[in-house]
């Protein structure tokens, strides 16, 4: 029987870490992810897990130490948010290029400045080109479920890439929700032992990690990373299917919420999808308008063709970004989904919204306005602005 609990998102991820019992966790505190290493430290203090904690002096060092531990043959992870992720930036690329299956519990928070501790996706979106797999959660349940699956994806022989498990700061990290946990032995059996093929401490072979590679090797190493990311698509689905068997919960690249018959779709990532679902239910009951949601779970690798297929029958699309990319053209999700539609030969009315920066609330009413605009765009075939803001004070 699964375990029914009431946990915050941070607690849920920490609980998954306890069940997995990884080898090495270097971490440095930063709001709102701080609780994760705190919980792990208390598990260690009470002899509940074998994990070694490294009390590093910065996030740059936490990712550096995780890389060292992973290269040495240990299952390694860390947790961070916002500026902590920014400080790791160089190391994110090193972890990915060394093909190390490090897992990072990221609690999304706005990047400075101005300094702000609340949720948006500017931290992880800034790292979107670093070669990491990125999986996002709407709820505490999803944060837990994604984390349990993370090492299996990262360590898969066709992947061998680091994985970032993302959830929204405070909204899920500190919000307490009902949650169903998978039993300890089932999680342990599902995750299994880490048995790397090559590692620094392998008895019968010495190994060198982190070479200087000149122009005649560098490009192939980058292509190999892309291949691994493409392989990850299949692996992510296989592991989700396997996880469904022990959890009863189904996961894919994205969730389609009432999208089957929808005329108007919102594409969104993270916790705000919950509010959006409330809006969809309300609109459908009140007006009968066919509105739906495509909620991204896997942003890296980007499931471009699948997204386009899922949006095939809608008349107009609003893509909602919880981060800027400062191109003056909207947000990263907006750019990538629009490109996905174009490449699939689907020319429909598309608008990109920026919302929720630095924890700005988004309401059911805001989503209703977006669906109204989608209806207007579909009817008039006119997009007034390619990108705009929700909830911005004029």
């Amino acid at each position: 029987m699964s375990i029914r609990e009431r946990l915050s998102g941070n607690e849920a991820v920490a609980y998954a870490i306890k069940q997995i019992n990884p080898d090495v966790m270097p971490a440095f505190p930063i709001t709102p992810s701080t609780e994760i290493p705190q919980y792990v430290a208390s598990y260690i203090a009470n002899g509940e897990i074998d994990t070694e904690f490294i009390h590093v002096e910065s996030e740059h060092s936490s990712m550096s130490a995780a890389i060292g531990a992973s290269a040495a043959g240990a299952r390694a992870l860390t947790a961070t948010s916002s500026c902590g992720l920014a400080l790791m930036w160089e190391e994110l690329y090193v972890a990915a290029s060394n093909r190390l299956p490090v897992v990072l519990a990221l609690v999304n928070r706005a990047l400075s400045g101005p300094i702000n501790i609340n949720a948006d996706h500017s931290d992880s979106m800034g790292a979107r080109d670093s070669g990491w797999i990125q999986i996002y959660a709407e709820s505490n349940q999803e944060a837990y479920d994604n984390f349990v699956q993370s090492f299996r994806i990262a360590e898969h022989k066709d992947v061998k890439l680091p994985v970032m498990i993302c959830q929204d700061g405070f909204i899920t990290s500190h919000g307490v929700e009902n949650i169903e946990l998978v039993e300890d032995d089932l999680v342990k059996g599902f995750v299994g032992e880490y048995e790397p093929e090559h590692y620094l401490l392998k008895s019968d072979e010495a190994m060198a990690v982190g070479p200087y590679a000149v122009s005649n090797y560098y490009m192939e190493s980058k292509k190999a990373q892309t291949e691994a990311l493409r392989n990850a698509k299949k692996v992510i689905l296989e592991i989700a299917e396997e996880y469904e068997k022990i959890s009863g919960r189904k996961y894919g690249f994205f969730e389609e919420y009432k999208l089957d018959d929808a005329d108007y779709a919102i594409v969104i990532i993270g916790s705000a999808a919950g509010t959006c679902k409330a809006a969809v239910d309300h609109i459908r009951v009140k007006t009968g308008k066919k509105v739906g949601i495509l909620k991204i779970r896997v942003f890296r690798p980007f499931p471009e063709e699948e997204i386009a297929q899922a949006l095939k029958n809608v008349k107009s699309v609003a893509i909602l970004d919880r981060s800027e990319m400062f191109a003056g053209t909207g947000g990263p999700l907006g750019a990538e989904v629009t490109a996905a539609l174009y490449r699939a030969g689907m020319f429909k009315e598309v608008v990109n919204y920026i919302y929720g920066l630095g924890g700005r609330d988004i309401t059911v009413g805001d989503f209703e306005d977006v669906y109204d605009e989608l209806e207007r765009m579909a009817k008039t075939h006119e997009v007034r602005e390619n990108f705009k803001y929700i909830g911005l004070r004029e």
């Binding site: 490294i54 590093v56 002096e57 060292g68 043959g73 620094l200 060198a208 070479p211 090797y217």
Partner: protein, 316 residues
């Protein structure tokens, strides 16, 4: 595991022991960095395995150029500023995997950084690793500037040195600041072993200090003066002579700090004037203009003061 009583046998250690840093690397002729690595690794006991770490720098780009590694042992380079943190992760992984029964072999952990990666950009990472007390040796091959990028000043660069970012010129006498005393800062971390050494005579000093550093449980730091022919401007064949002059002028004293106790390893019988160390080097050429004699005097005073401070620390 301490094994410091084994007598040093020059012939055995230097000629019969298998090298763990092998020929074919691309370090310059007359480079002290390569000699530092070879000397330190030679003090590993043959039955022990090792993981060698490395900050980005001359050594890294010259000794692990894909697909060739110059190391017999496992090796990891991560980035410029994080050799300390990276080896912390490796050493911790070793402890866990051993505890879990996944590893039987005995491993030793040694990481190398130049003065740029150690005194400057990697200082925080080094300090963190030393404070946490990981059981590894951090070896700084100190050549006194960012040599890999073309001799820019570091906080290890001596005052008055002509570097590409502190050039001597019409209104400049080279670097303005005195060098950072990193060995003392490391000793202040309360770690069990700190040693300062270089290459002298039959290499006994560096050999015994390396062995102590490696086989003392806990964090250890070794500062190795490693001359750079390109950055210093000496004849490549004079590398050993540069080290000798650095020691005989008391520019680079040899000492160790064991559990907080400072001990001088060598006291020159006739302390040579600092000019003897400076004259063969292009980077100090401007100090020998007649009008700059006062700078030489200042340099001598600086060396005397540092030497006297060291003698006090060593209760001499």
């Amino acid at each position: 595991m301490e094994n410091n009583n084994k007598p040093y046998n020059f012939k055995k250690e230097m000629t019969t022991k298998k090298d763990r840093f092998v020929p074919g690397h691309r370090m310059c002729a007359g480079c002290g960095g390569a000699v530092a690595v070879r000397s330190v690794l030679r003090s590993l006991h043959e039955e022990d395995k090792a993981v060698i770490g490395n900050a980005t720098g001359c050594l890294e780009v010259s000794s692990y150029m894909y697909p060739y590694s110059s190391y017999e042992d496992s090796y990891i380079h991560n980035a410029f500023e994080n050799a300390g943190a990276t080896m912390s992760g490796v050493e911790t992984a070793y402890n866990v995997l051993r505890k879990k029964g996944k590893i039987d072999d005995t491993y030793k952990f040694i990481t190398f950084g130049g003065d740029g990666g150690t005194y400057d950009i990697g200082f925080q990472s080094l300090s963190g690793a030393m404070e946490r007390g990981h059981d590894f040796v951090y070896v700084c091959y100190d050549n006194g500037a960012y040599m890999n990028t073309g001799t820019q000043r570091s906080s290890a660069t001596p005052k008055f040195a002509d570097t590409t970012t502190t050039p001597a010129g019409k209104v400049s006498s080279g670097k303005v600041q005195v060098r950072k005393d990193l060995a003392a800062i490391m000793a202040s971390h309360g770690i069990p072993y700190v040693g300062q050494t270089t290459f002298l005579g039959n290499f006994k000093d560096i050999y015994t200090k390396s062995e102590k550093a490696i086989y003392t449980p806990g964090a250890a730091f070794l500062n190795v003066l490693s001359p750079c022919p390109r950055g210093w401007g000496y004849e490549t064949s004079d590398m050993m002579e540069m080290c000798r002059l650095a020691v005989e002028t008391c520019y680079w004293p040899l000492f160790e700090v064991v559990e907080g106790t400072w001990t001088l390893s060598y006291e020159p019988k006739n302390k040579l004037p600092i000019e003897d160390f400076l004259r063969p080097q292009r980077r100090f050429k401007h100090l020998f203009k007649p009008e700059n004699e006062y700078l030489l005097n200042e340099f001598q005073k600086m060396v005397d003061k540092q030497w006297n401070n060291l003698l006090v620390k060593c209760n001499l």
